[in-house]
Amino acid sequence: MSLLELKNVSKIYGNLKALDNVSLNVDTGEWVAIMGPSGSGKSTMMNIIGCMDKSSLGEVLLDDVDISKISSKKLTEIRRDKIGLIFQQFHLVNYLTAVENVMLAQYYHSMPDEKEAMEALERVGLADRAKHLPSQLSGGEQQRVCIARALINHPEIILADEPTGNLDEANENIVIDLFRQLHNEGTTLIVVTHDPEVAEVAQRTIVLDHGKLVKEVINENFNQQNQASEKSAKTVKTDEEKSADKKSESGKKTKKKK
């Protein structure tokens, strides 16, 4: 069953076609990666799917609702109820603690619940950093807070725009593991990335260029990969986490010395 369906979607800025007649189907529970050079329209597409922007032409069906034709108020509601967002520039509210940032998503969605928010942080391995402000967290930790925030309301789709763009490899692996878990729980994932390694772990990769969908690659080995790494993820995770934290902390320290 198609959760998301783009039919001949274009987004036009003046005489620039940021998206040019793109059609795409994403099934419920599918994990899709989007690649393409800079300026090819990846973020534009994410904005449209994420109900933050409207397409100029074409139809965008999300759960059989055409979100290209509805009011911005209605868009806000759908965004709140169905979509979890993860960004390259972590985008946390800088005067709220990690747990408060997670609760912010609950606050707009339904009811803030500190216990549940703590559980989400625990899940991304940050229970002990809950009371820290974003400025006191490393980049990897901030990104994990964002993931906790994106999954707290159990959205149907998680959209991630360059989630690992600013992370080192260890933190990148943590994020990928989290995605894998979400996927196994049935969450639909759409991940924009420049990094072939991040794209490889998805079920399907589509490539945009100049606003056009130019290529589509199905990952044949997805199921084996998924199962193999799931086993290793559980045992390796804690060690990886520790080393990741150490790395980012030592990185911070050297920066301060300068």
């Binding site: 005067y95 707009y108 402000l133």
Partner: protein, 393 residues
């Protein structure tokens, strides 16, 4: 956790953890609220202060003997006083004047009730002390200079009954004067500086005058200080004029009238200053809020991306603004009281009366002014496009 709790947690976190910007706005609101509550306190206290102040310039009513009468008997004076509401009487000072001799030279001696004189003539400046018992005298500055007396000196005051001295003058002036003359010794307790003709007098108590002259004559004049409006004073004067035929009450008009004109001018000045200060506060808060909204565009976009409606964005910023207004208002009303007290001490040399009602009023006005100032900047916050959070910066 309730939604409101998270709301307050968010806005307090924003105010506490992003202090610098908000501090400017808070300062503006606080100054505005201080001026508001301070000036309004003064506005309401000035009539009272001014009333007291103007009464300092002397009595506002005097009793004179009516028609051909030589004086006012103390019983007539008491009957006249009974017509005035006791609570409004600030002071009553009866005066009896006689010519006495000091070192053979004539001097006017005024006999009065010193505690009454203190109330009706608070501008009298005494170097030393006021007389407190019999045999003590307060000496006008000119007399003190003339005779070279100072505090603590003794002076002999003599009295010659008027008719006998005239008769005896025809025969043998020197002898007769000495015969009829009565003398009393007085101790100078203080030198009186009034800036007026009273500096040519000496002041003794009514009892001493009676002892000196050997006769209890009527008062030549009674001075009154009454705390009442012009209309009320007039109605008192009318009533006394009708009730007590021996007393002719007069209002000292000049002072009471100037009191009202100066007052209304001062009050309108205070009002204008208050309005101007509130306007300035509003401009400052609006400017700060505009800067704050610009500074937080990314955060607003993020909140929208997380599903915040325009209504909740508006609510959050207004909440922050109004909380700031509330804190500023409370601080301002406290500071305003001290400000008013300072002004009052410096200008009127007296303490201000505390107006409890002014705290909630200041609070409501500061919150309202802040809310009004936030309206436009906060509206612009809702224009932020959530799509901007995905745009790289």
């Amino acid at each position: 956790m309730k939604k409101q709790n998270m709301f307050f947690r968010m806005i307090t976190a924003s105010l506490l953890r992003r202090r610098s910007r908000m501090l400017v706005a808070l300062l503006a609101i606080m100054v505005g609220a201080t001026i508001l509550s301070g000036l309004v306190t003064i506005y309401y206290d000035v009539p009272r202060q001014m009333g007291e102040q103007f009464r300092n310039y002397g009595a506002n009513m005097i009793f004179l003997p009516a028609g051909d009468n030589d004086g006012i008997s103390s019983s007539d004076s008491d009957r006249a006083l009974a017509d005035i509401d006791k609570n409004n009487i600030v002071g009553v000072a009866p005066y009896r004047y006689e010519t006495v001799l000091i070192n053979e030279r004539p001097v006017i001696a005024a006999a009065t009730d010193f505690s009454g004189a203190k109330a009706t003539s608070p501008y009298w400046y005494v170097t030393g002390a006021w007389p407190s018992e019999s045999g003590q005298v307060l000496v006008g500055e000119d007399i003190a200079e003339l005779y070279g007396v100072a505090q603590g000196d003794e002076m002999t005051v003599s009295f010659v009954p008027a008719n006998t001295s005239e008769v005896s003058a025809e025969k043998n002036a020197d002898e007769n004067t000495k015969e009829n003359e009565k003398s009393m010794k007085f101790t100078v307790t203080g030198i009186l500086d009034t800036g007026g003709s009273d500096e040519n007098y000496i002041f003794i108590s009514l009892q001493d005058m009676q002892a000196l002259t050997g006769e209890s004559a009527a008062y030549d004049m009674v001075e009154l200080s009454i705390s009442a409006t012009q209309d009320k004073l007039e109605s008192y004067a009318d009533k006394i004029g009708k009730d007590v035929s021996a007393v002719s009450p007069r209002l000292v008009k000049r002072v009471t009238q100037s009191e009202t004109t100066v007052l209304s001018k001062l009050q309108s000045l205070v009002l204008i200053v208050t309005v101007v200060v509130l306007l300035l506060t509003m401009i400052c808060v609006a400017t700060t809020m505009t800067a704050v909204v610009t500074e937080r565009r990314k955060e607003i976009g993020l909140r929208k991306a997380l599903g915040a409606s325009n209504k909740s964005i508006t609510g959050e910023f207004m909440g922050e603004g109004m909380m700031l207004g509330g804190i500023g208002g409370i601080l301002g009303s406290v500071l305003g009281y001290f400000f008013a007290e300072l002004v009052s001490m410096n200008v009127f040399n007296s303490s201000i009366t505390f107006q409890p009602l002014l705290i909630p009023v200041t609070l409501v006005v500061s919150v309202a002014v802040t809310a009004a100032a936030c309206l436009l900047p906060v509206r612009s916050a809702t224009d932020v496009d959530p799509a901007l959070v995905l745009k790289g910066e």
